[in-house]
């Protein structure tokens, strides 16, 4: 266990060095506050891949408001991040794309009971290539064998939402592929390989003109709620708390809303 933890720490340090945070702390330990109460040190934030644009903006804002603090962002699939955290990767804040992955961390005791806050939500939409080769008008069209539909596999958060959506709408989609991540689904649609795909509203918005988006009336039945929490053994608990406050506050909500997230 000791060796494994050390190895993870070394890898994490290497990635920190590569990330190249420019803000220098005022010396001494990485955590804490100065005499006048200003935050110092660095804060490591692990966040779901779909949060990349919003959290990059929020980190910029946080460093502006707290010049003594450097935010280290790590983005990956929620399940990947949970694996890394359980194996001992050092982080101060974790923001997940669904409650299931967050529950793993509370079960492991890495996050205190009642410490999590829901801060955003995401729903599924249909995307097709701009020229719509499959002639897709709505969810029922995806059940046709003539429409090549790509979805997320049920094992990952967006796929779990897809399963719920199908039963809520009473539609049985026969996908040509079940991808491991929502970005893979989007890629198959933007490249024109697939006629349609089910992705998050935020991914469709970020894809811009590369896709045509169709809202699904039943999407409200399959909402993914995004929880955030400071880690129980955060090296910099004060800054972790402040970052969570920024994300769940008014500014955070505005940034997330403009990226297409719904309120929690």
């Amino acid at each position: 266990m000791g060796i494994r933890r050390a190895a993870v720490a070394v890898l994490a340090l290497a990635s920190l060095a590569l990330a190249g945070c420019t803000a220098t702390d005022t010396g001494g330990d990485a955590a804490g506050t100065t005499e006048d109460g200003a935050l110092t040190g660095s804060v490591a934030v692990f966040a779901a891949a779909s949060l990349e644009d919003s959290f990059t903006e929020l980190a910029r804002r946080f460093e502006e408001e707290n010049p003594g603090v450097c935010v280290q962002l790590t983005f990956a699939g929620s399940s990947d991040l949970v694996t890394q955290l359980v194996e001992g990767a050092p982080a101060d804040v974790f923001a997940s794309a669904d409650e299931r992955t967050m529950a793993t961390l509370t079960d492991e005791g890495l996050i205190g009971a009642g410490a999590t806050l829901d801060f955003a939500s995401n729903t599924l939409v249909i995307v097709t290539p701009p020229d719509d080769p499959g002639g897709v008008g709505g969810l029922t069209d995806l059940a046709s064998d003539d429409v090549r539909t790509v979805v997320c596999a049920p094992q990952v958060p967006c796929g779990a939402a897809t399963t719920v959506l199908q039963s809520a709408a009473g539609v049985d989609i026969a996908p040509v592929s079940e991808e491991s991540s929502v970005t893979d689904v989007l890629g198959k649609v933007t490249s024109g390989e697939a006629d349609a795909g089910l992705v998050y509203a935020t991914d469709a918005l970020a894809a811009g003109d590369a896709v045509r988006t169709i809202e699904v009336p039943e999407a409200g039945e399959a909402v993914n709620v995004y929880p955030i929490a400071p880690l129980a053994d955060a090296a910099n608990p004060a800054a972790a708390r402040a970052f969570v406050d920024l994300v769940t506050g008014e500014y955070g909500r505005d940034v997330l809303a403009s990226a297409g997230f719904g309120s929690p």
Binding site: A153, Q155, P175, E179, S180, E193, A194
Partner: protein
């Protein structure tokens, strides 16, 4: 310390283990070699230690695991056959003929060796995909490669082919053309020379190249994920199944990883056997 010129295989029939004279190896070479071996073996040991043995059998015999294993073996075997069919002529062409631009061609066809598999997948997508270079014509003929098992085989062949070409071309060059020249002066036609002299001489290299290709095809992940998609029993090979299971069931991912390691070890062991016995046969009957 001057290194003796290294020639793994002298001209003529391959030399066996018993032919090598015992050489003294410097201690520091042994030490560094041990570090290298530990670097390779420790991660494998770490996987074995993480296996949940109580659940091992149900995990690896689940419907989805068996589908993935079966698909992997089928597609890798098909890809290996394709590699031999086009790879042997490619190696002969590169080793035995001389034409303008040959050097450039050699570097280009070996490119999949160094290309990140994801890039290979994107390249295949733009070739055989629905809107790709050739894919559009296929689509017009009613043949669709995207999301089919064919796409998996294409991805595997693409990444595995250089392994066969590279090892066979090296063998052809070191075997030399002496026997072929004799055969030709005795009136044998090019096809006869190839069939009766060249190929039997390099058979061990063909076999070991084929095994390398099979192993590479078995482990193919990036190009398949990018190009073929992932659907149980159709395109979801064992590496893709491991990648997906890791999301929800790490125990299953570890168990399947061990299966893949065991299959790879069996393949390597069989290859070694086949290579040695065919080498011995050649020595017995040759010159």
């Amino acid at each position: 310390m001057t290194a003796a010129p290294i020639r793994r295989r002298p001209p003529g029939p391959p030399r066996g283990r018993q032919g090598a004279a015992p050489l003294g190896v410097p201690g520091w070479v042994v030490a560094l070699g041990a570090v290298g071996a530990a670097f390779v073996l420790l991660p494998l040991l770490a996987v074995v230690l993480r296996v949940n043995w109580a659940e091992f059998v149900p995990l690896v015999t689940s419907r989805s695991s068996l589908d993935a294993l079966g698909l992997s073996l089928r597609t890798s075997l098909t890809a290996t056959v394709l590699c031999v069919i086009v790879g042997v002529p490619m190696a002969v062409m590169l080793a035995r003929t001389d034409f303008w631009g040959q050097r450039v061609l050699r570097s280009l066809v070996l490119l999949p060796l160094v290309l990140p598999p994801v890039v290979g997948g994107i390249a295949l997508l733009y070739t055989f995909g629905r809107r790709g270079l050739l894919g559009q014509s296929f689509e017009a003929l009613g043949v669709s490669i995207a999301f089919s098992t064919t796409a998996v085989v294409l991805a595997q062949t693409f990444v595995a082919l250089p392994f066969l070409v590279l090892s066979l071309e090296g063998a052809l060059r070191s075997v030399g053309t002496r026997f072929e020249a004799v055969g030709a002066t005795l009136g044998a036609r090019p096809t006869t020379v190839l069939r009766r002299i060249t190929l039997p001489l390099v058979l061990p290299a063909v076999l070991s190249g084929a095994v390398l290709s099979f192993a590479r095809a078995l482990g193919e992940f990036g190009a398949t994920l990018t190009f073929a998609g992932s659907l149980q029993g159709v395109t979801r090979t064992l590496p893709l199944e491991i990648y997906l299971q890791r999301e929800s069931d790490p125990d299953a991912a570890v168990a399947l990883s061990l299966v893949l390691v065991v299959v790879a070890v069996i393949v390597v062991a069989v290859a070694h056997r086949v290579g040695e016995s065919s080498g011995r046969r050649l020595r017995g009957s040759g010159s």
